[in-house]
């Protein structure tokens, strides 16, 4: 069977964008550059969601992460003057701990992912149509439907969490309460 070159090409392109973006996020001195790198990574991830037949999550990713949260980040970076901070040391002395911890975790992931049962990887790809055109409706059914919706309670809890976050953010940012 011919390997699906287009899919592989786009996957590796987007994956490379994400990895490079991630590396830039944690290495840039300037927080604005970090934020821009993170935005690039997030947009690449939205494209990966589309490749995974999850258009609704991709849309939410763009509108909330790239258009909302990251604007908030940029806003805050601009409110606090960063010139002085940029002259300081950027990394703390825990880099050894960081590398070790990351290596240990990486080893764990590698062992899990390469584990096979009877010569077949645990996570093979099934081949079927995923009903992309009904994606949004199906997510809505899971969230809101009176009979099939099992996440309604979780949804309400999430909205409560957002309310708490709003109040928390207002209290934190206010100078005089």
């Amino acid at each position: 069977m011919n390997p699906p070159v287009a899919t592989a090409f786009f996957f590796y392109l987007l994956a490379a964008t994400m990895i490079i973006g991630g590396i830039l996020v944690i290495t840039r001195k300037n927080a604005v550059h970090s934020a821009l790198a993170l935005i690039t990574a997030l947009l690449a991830q939205a494209a990966l969601y589309l490749m995974l037949y999850a258009p609704f999550v991709a849309g939410v990713q763009i509108i909330l992460y790239a258009g909302g949260i990251m604007v908030l980040f940029l806003f805050v970076i601009m409110l606090i003057s960063i010139e002085r901070n940029m002259k300081e040391r950027q990394f703390n002395k825990q880099w050894l701990v960081g590398i070790v911890a990351a290596a240990a975790l990486g080893a764990l992931f590698v062992t899990v992912y390469t584990k096979t049962s009877r010569g077949v990887s645990l996570f093979i790809e099934g081949r079927m149509s995923y009903g992309e055109s009904q994606n949004t409706q199906m997510i809505a059914n899971l969230l809101f439907d009176r009979h099939a919706g099992m996440y309604m309670f979780a949804f309400e809890i999430a909205s409560l969490l957002l309310l708490v976050a709003i109040i928390g953010a207002v209290v934190m940012a206010k100078k005089r309460i």
Binding site: P3, I19, I77, N92, G168, V170
Partner: protein
Amino acid sequence: MAYCSEKAMNTLLHISTLHYLVLGAALFLLGIIGVLTRRNVVIVLMSIELILNAVNLNLVAFSRYWQSIHGASALHGQVFAIFVITDAAAEAAVGLGILIAFFRNKETVNVDEVNLLKW
């Protein structure tokens, strides 16, 4: 491509759930390194976003895997991803609020200097 077996080539080119999981793991590790080593709180928060996104990628990839087993309407992973994005929004709002309050009092954004419970 003599040095690359056909089987390995096949594994590389047939994008499966595993590929997404590896990518997610890599992003997760990058986020961990960022959180542990950076001093700038803003970048630490951004690394946390990176970690959350790695998790999300895994969730959506699993969702697709789950769909291939349980039918098209088994979108639980995607619903989880949406909840995680909600949490990320809440976390960013509160985290940045704390950051602004901190900056206003200490005139710095270094996470090392957050060593008092009260100021």
